[in-house]
């Protein structure tokens, strides 16, 4: 009697074990078995990803992908994507991970899973090192250049004190030129734009003074990939601890990794 029950139980466990891989594919073991990590990266969004002079993709996302591949001890295979097709590439299984300046929102969370954040992406008020601005009230009496109609214009128009002067320009280049030529005290824009300034005019790189809107970037992966998610998170956590993610941020964004990321 007991024997039969044991046999039946064994059979059940065995069949479950057999059926599990097909029902819940474990990408992590797939990746290690095939020895290749397939990652979707941007190709038209510097400094996160662009095509370098040698026609190879380069950028923060590419370096992050390389870091993950190195830690998994597998080869890296990059797939260039754009912002509209990056999630379909993941959900149809063409890539294992999306590292493509991907922000988190509820609509995306319904479809895919997110790792912990690996890079900062935010809109803020930036200025020279000696500008004493730590709160919105400190903007009183200051002039701030901003691109008209951009998210930071809308936010700052609501939040800034009355005596702060917003100088609105037509495009990013004029907004930057107004700051670099000293026509304004501060500039409101994204940290990516600051990286672009750093690329061209490293002497007057504005530092972050106020954060207006935070939307850090995450690694995107398919749902129900607990093992892969845990592994990616572990690699990101240790890369944060040993400073290698900070080095990537310094290299591409010219700003240190924020402490709370």
């Amino acid at each position: 009697m007991h024997k039969i029950q044991r046999h039946l139980l064994n059979l059940l466990v065995a069949s479950l074990a057999l059926s599990l891989p097909s029902a819940f594919a474990d990408s992590l073991s797939d990746i290690t078995e095939r020895g290749v990590l397939k990652v979707a990266v941007p190709q038209d969004f510097p400094p996160f990803g662009s095509i370098g002079p040698d026609m190879q993709p380069r950028g923060l996302d590419i370096d992050t992908a390389q870091l993950l591949a190195d830690q998994l001890a597998v080869k890296l295979q990059l797939t260039p994507v754009n912002s509209t097709n990056r999630i379909p590439f993941l959900t149809t299984g063409k890539v294992d991970l999306v590292i493509s300046s991907l922000g988190k929102n509820p609509e995306r969370e319904a479809v895919i899973d997110f790792s912990s954040a690996y890079a900062p992406f935010y809109l803020g008020v930036f200025g020279p090192a000696d500008a004493a601005v730590t709160s919105l009230d400190d903007l009183a009496g200051k002039t701030i250049s901003v691109t008209r109609g951009a998210v930071e214009d809308i936010e700052l128009s609501k939040l800034a004190p009355k005596s702060a002067t917003l100088k609105r320009f037509e495009d990013n280049n004029s907004t930057i030129a107004a700051y670099l030529s000293g026509q304004v005290d501060l500039i409101a824009s994204g940290n990516v734009v600051m990286a672009a300034i750093a690329e061209r005019n490293p002497k007057r790189v504005p530092l972050m003074k106020l954060n207006l809107k935070d939307s850090p970037t995450y690694v995107g992966l398919n749902k129900n990939e607990a093992a892969l998610l845990a592994k990616v998170n572990a690699i990101i956590a240790s890369a944060k601890a040993d400073g290698s993610l900070n080095a990537i941020s310094q290299k591409w964004l010219k700003q240190p990794l924020p402490a709370g990321l």
Binding site: R168, F169, E170, A178, S181, Q183
Partner: protein, 221 residues
């Protein structure tokens, strides 16, 4: 589907548009007074070939008349700070307008001065008028009277050209229109109202200049 007109979001911002229109008019007034003054000076120096200023003004006229206004404006606002000359946006706008109108009006008024028959100057000298009297009554006034319509048109052009100053965040009428449009996305209504405002301002300035011309330049001695 027919476009649904909605002027309410634009009219809600009527104060912004009126402020912008007033700012455009003040820019134009300042630019015109100083610009025409510069033009008269340049015209006299050029017409009478007073060295070395006639050559300097010749260079200035060629430089300004052969470069776009927006480039001159950007040079003043974004470029000059590199040399330590920093102007705020309305100072830069006025300066650009003065320099621009100064160059064009130099040539317009010079044409008027050179069209004065030399016999008229000799007649004035024969009547023992002094140099200042000759300049005022025999040179400047007849010269301005001859070119007044051309000068009026140039002033209108400068007023309309001030729309470009919105690019350096000068809060004139076009800036107000762009700002309102970027907030309510009612492009058609906003720019229709703005167009009508510019038209009204141009007609107003033309009438004013015609009156000044009749009263002080051509007529009433």
């Amino acid at each position: 589907m027919a476009y649904q007109f909605d002027f309410i979001p634009v009219l809600d911002n009527a104060d912004l548009l009126l402020q912008g229109a007033l700012f455009t008019l003040s820019l134009t007034a300042a630019g015109t007074l100083l610009g025409v003054g510069l033009g008269i000076l340049g015209a006299v120096l050029r017409a009478w070939r007073i060295k070395p200023f006639n050559q300097l003004f010749g260079l200035y006229v060629e430089l300004i008349r052969n470069t776009p206004f927006i480039v001159q404006l950007f040079f003043i606002f974004f470029g000059l700070p590199a040399l330590g000359v920093r102007m705020n946006e309305w100072e830069a706008a006025v300066l650009a307008m003065v320099i621009n109108l100064g160059a064009y009006s130099t040539e317009i008024i010079r044409a008027g001065i050179q069209a004065i028959p030399s016999g008229q100057l000799e007649a004035a000298a024969a009547l023992a008028m002094n140099r200042i009297e000759i300049f005022r009554h025999v040179v400047l006034r007849p010269a301005l009277a001859k070119v007044w319509p051309a000068l009026s048109s140039q002033i209108i052009i400068v007023m309309l050209g001030s729309a470009v100053c919105s690019q350096i965040s000068t809060e004139e009428l076009s800036f107000a229109a762009n700002f309102i449009q970027s907030r309510n996305f009612r492009a058609f209504e906003t720019y229709l109202v703005t167009t009508l405002l510019y038209l009204a301002m141009a007609i107003l300035i033309r009438q004013l200049l015609a009156w000044i011309g009749r009263r002080f330049v051509v007529g009433g001695r």
